[in-house]
Amino acid sequence: MVLAWLAVLLSQPLLAGPDGAELFSRHCVACHGEEGRGGVGVPLALPAFLESVDDRFLTVTIREGRPGRVMPSFRTLSDAQIQAIVSYIRSWTDRPTPTFDPAPIQGDAQRGARLFASHCAGCHGPEGRGGHGTGVTFSRPRDLPIIAPALRNRGFLAAASDRLIRATLVRGREGTPMVPATSLGLDDRDIDDIVAYIRSLESTLHDERRRLQEKHDAEPTVLMEESSYTLEETVENVKQAIVGKNYRVVRVQRLEEGLVPEDQVNPRQVVVYFCNFNQLNQALAIDPRVGLFLPCRITVVEEKGVVRVYSTNPGRMAHFFNNDELKELCEEMSRTYEEILEEATL
């Protein structure tokens, strides 16, 4: 009886096929917004975007993501589920879906590199590493309505065929700062050379993600030092060290405040919250999800007569954001945390 019920329950969605709208709502809406209006992620519903990319581009992008550029990979989704999402995205436009010949384009990559530096790097960054920040306006003013994508990216290069890249160069992308290459005075040969250069970036990506993963795996989850001072002295030392690093102490409280009645709070667990608002503003512009780091904090604990100071390790946490730009900032924060812990306990 139970088996029969279970079989019926599980067969319903299988028989019906994946629901693209529901899958999009579950996996994509948080970043790309309702009906692809954009947010942390790019505005997918942009007509100029949908008419310039083929279904393969969308499919591989969903599957592989954009390593280091926020967009995660969705390898747990089945081919049918990804196809359903792609079909849903296509339903936003009645313009025809383009197709591209997969044959590679021949060109002079070295010459293309020079042209890229002159005409493309201003938005796409040196070596096509991408523009700063994430997505569109995102609750704060931005210089561009859309952030130029990273071209030197394993996910992008796997998704985009040479001829898709070429077509984008030729037509530009209406509604974004990407103008047709011909309006910049570039001819067919120039465009082919730029395509060859972008494709050549693939060879520079070998092992980069693996090295980053190994670095992440080697990072401790928590930074910790034992203090030779009393709890109260250590808290004061932490506060002084924080100010010495150009941060502002915003709050000192016991860990359990607000969780238990005042008379039951453990007084030997103290949290020092601190902030550098300029740095915070920069971090939010890079990735608005950094609230998960906030506020900066050091926790001082006395347990059985031993005082220890703890902090999270932003350098390790950054890995979870899939945002290389944020990683640099977080590694700097980790070094600052380590220095504060050392100064407060030595």
Binding site: L6, E256, G291
Partner: protein
Amino acid sequence: MRSILPILLLLLSFTARAEDLMMVRSTLSFPEAMVTLQNTIRDYGYTLSRVQRVDIGLTSFGFKTDKYRIVFFGKAEENRRMIARRPELVAYLPLKIAIFAEEDDTLLVAANPVKWLEGLVEDEELRIQFERWRNDLQAILEDVRRAEE
């Protein structure tokens, strides 16, 4: 029935997300989403300990920002038990959810404890606890997401 339950749980687990970050978009305005989030957190048996008003700090220093808050919450006894087992957890607790406005929508994001704290797993009790936190955070976010439906 007992033998079928693990199979059912296994099958259903395929629908669970394993992202490092758990993020949802709510079409509720920020104030409505904030109230819904706090009520939902309480519904799941947690105590709200504090709300950090990130936007207030930023604007007081002259930076432009929309509403941006961090909501802290926890279960005191659970936290004490886990910190006693793994003192390093003190750096991560209480749990938190970041909530911020994006034009008319509201975004909510939480870290997946199973991923973020995997370096601290040293026994079954910790692993189960991290999964419980992950499930609760996921359910809270999902409830807020569906609140307008």
